[in-house]
């Protein structure tokens, strides 16, 4: 992963580097707001907190915000005018996101990109440079390795930084990243630094114990799972939206109007498959009437439908749903139980 083309960014130069970026970019980076560590816009390099692990919100927040206007309208006396805002032009940098979040963008790319793409996402993605910070110290809720990523994965990133203590090894992971590096003067990483980087990476990986989630589970989920098991798995679930809203790959949304007397706007907002209203029809009929069906949908969508349809699981193992679930309903255990459940 860390290859020949790697460069070095000395820590004492980080502040200057960020200041340069702030000149002509909107920079989003981990920063503290009270006790919360959030990926949010920074005004100064001093706002950035790189050592404290992953942010509460995931990188999707920057490309698929919770609320987005589709258009504003004015409707009077049967006449309607629409006003669609032109896209912003500012370039943005996601600095210091974790490899799991960067990898999550690949899944969002498959959903929002491609034919009939989502103009908001596609436009922002094109304007965004992803500079991720490799994890040297994965936490107990992390399970990126189990899903094909890793604490130092370069998937989805343009540049990846790895902390060597006194400096960062910087590696370009995309064409965009290479072009970015070329424009700036960095020292080449010497053999010694690369060796240290490799060692740190190995240590980070070996500190995790990956459970096998993958083809076996996918195969298993092609066969029906006992409805009673879904009931058991979902028994403690509160049916809130924490797991889906903080997830870097969950992307379900709602479209609704917010209206004043004659004007208003149509907005696109996050929605969650865990909410009863998500599928409830106007007649009151709900194809997923209870928490059990909604829990099943979340798991099946992530670990069966998406792998089948988009060739990538809807999970990158960031562990936010594990750590932030109010009742500590651990998806890793759920998957393990599903893998072991006998076919019907």
């Amino acid at each position: 992963m860390i290859r020949e083309n790697a460069r070095i960014l000395r820590k004492e130069r980080l502040e200057r580097f960020l200041e340069d970026l702030l000149q002509d970019h909107l920079v989003l980076a981990p920063r503290r707001k009270g006790e919360l560590l959030l990926l949010d816009r920074i005004e100064s390099p001093r706002d950035v907190v790189l050592e404290d692990g992953k942010t509460k919100n995931s990188a999707k927040y920057a490309l698929f915000p919770q609320r987005e206007r589709i258009f504003a309208y004015r409707a009077e006396e049967g006449k309607v005018e629409l006003h669609v805002s032109p896209p912003a032009e500012e370039k943005q940098i996601l600095f210091g996101v974790r490899p799991c979040d960067a990898r999550g963008l690949l899944l969002l790319d498959t959903v929002f990109g491609g034919d009939c793409g989502d103009p908001y996402y596609v436009d922002k993605r094109a304007r965004t440079l992803v500079v991720s910070m490799a994890c040297v110290n994965p936490g107990p809720s992390c399970f990126c390795l189990s899903l094909g990523g890793g604490p130092c994965s370069t998937d989805g990133s343009d540049l990846v930084l790895l902390d060597l203590g006194d400096c960062y090894v910087v590696e370009a992971a995309s064409v965009k990243g290479r072009a970015f590096l070329q424009d700036r003067s960095f020292e080449d990483a010497g053999a010694e630094a690369l060796a240290r980087a490799g060692k740190i990476r190995k240590e980070a990986e070996s500190s995790m114990n990956p459970a096998a989630i993958g083809e076996a589970l996918e195969k298993r989920l092609e066969q029906p799972v006992d409805d009673l098991l879904w009931g058991d798995l979902a028994e403690s679930c509160l049916g809130c939206g924490v797991c889906t809203y903080l997830c870097p790959t969950c992307h379900c949304f709602d479209i609704c109007d917010e209206a004043a007397a004659a004007t208003g706007e149509r907005i696109r907002i996050w929605d969650s498959c865990q909410f009863p209203l998500f599928t409830q029809e106007a007649s009151g009929f709900n194809p997923r009437p209870s928490g059990k069906e909604r829990f099943r949908q979340r798991i099946m969508h992530k670990f069966s439908y998406l792998p089948r349809g988009r060739n990538m699981a809807g999970c990158v193992g960031c562990g936010r749903c594990v750590a932030e679930c109010p009742v500590n309903l651990d998806v890793r255990e759920v998957l393990e139980k599903l893998s072991q459940a006998e076919a019907q």
Binding site: P119, H251, D257
Partner: protein
């Protein structure tokens, strides 16, 4: 790039109250711009999202036929927020339209085949579209026998009476209307759609059955078609789910791994048994 979430505007040209209880109205919409009309090339079975500004959007199948491209017609049952607001609108008002969305009936594959169209209640709108398409003088020769079986709870709830009367006069279409509750003067069948399908017993040879209606009707019609000898590949269903984006992104209308909006809404029974 084109923004698939932004509707174009259409004017309500006519509002037709379809049912005696006035809960279903058909809205006839006129294009405001020629380019919208040209872009809106659709097949029977496709749908569009209709916007009432300030209330939101809801999906409706086109009830009109592409053979009359000047107008779009949507039949709307007054159930929720958007449909309620639509019912309060008047001739001359403006709505938004996004579409055509989803996949319609595969007309190419229907060519030369006998067609059995089975509809119930409100679900009949896209079958009306399909029927009128096939009956068009340019198209009729390309298709085999056409049988239409359509049921409602009572005669006053049957949609498109003007079309049904005209179809009844024709010799190139077998029309079977049925109601659950008989009324004076009713000359059609009495009984639930699945039972009528069984008694009419359309032949499965070289035939495709298209079913659209309430879930219960579809559920009980499927085994009847099976008994009559229709294979799963030759049974098409048009599904309905709560939808928002209509382009397979917002995540709510899936049946298993398929989205009703972008993979459907028309599915063959053989596809559905795998979901």
């Amino acid at each position: 790039m084109e923004n698939p979430y932004v509707p174009f505007l259409m004017k309500i040209e006519e509002i037709i109250t379809e049912t005696e209880d006035e809960t279903i109205k058909t809205f006839v919409l006129a294009f405001a711009r020629e380019e919208d009309k040209e872009r809106f090339a659709y097949l029977p079975g496709q749908f569009a999202e209709i916007s009432v500004f300030g209330k939101g959007e809801a999906p409706f199948g086109m009830a009109s036929t592409p053979t009359l491209p000047e107008r779009l017609e949507f039949s709307v049952s007054k159930i929720g927020v958007v449909t309620g607001a639509l019912h309060n609108m008047e001739k001359g008002d403006t709505v938004g339209v996004r579409g055509p969305l989803g996949n319609g009936y595969c007309l190419e594959a229907f060519k030369g085949r006998n067609l059995v169209l089975i509809g119930g209640g409100f679900g009949f709108s896209t079958l009306r579209s399909l029927t009128n398409y096939i009956l068009h003088e340019r198209n009729r020769k390309a298709y085999g026998d056409l049988t239409v079986i359509y049921g409602a709870r009572k005669p006053g709830l049957l949609l498109y009476r003007r079309d049904l009367d005209a179809w009844g006069q024709r010799t190139d279409l077998r029309l079977h209307l049925t109601v659950d509750q008989e009324e004076d003067g009713w000359q059609g069948h009495v009984g639930l759609v699945p039972n009528v399908v069984r008694s009419v017993a359309p032949g499965p040879e070289n035939a495709i059955a298209v079913v659209c209606g309430p879930p219960a009707m579809m559920k009980f019609t499927l085994p009847v078609l099976g008994d009559l000898g229709f294979s799963d590949e030759n049974i098409l269903l048009s599904l309905e789910k709560r939808m928002k984006c209509g382009i397979g992104k917002c995540g709510r209308c899936n049946v298993g791994s398929k989205y009703v909006c972008s993979d459907g809404p028309v599915f063959s029974q053989s596809e559905l048994v795998h979901l």
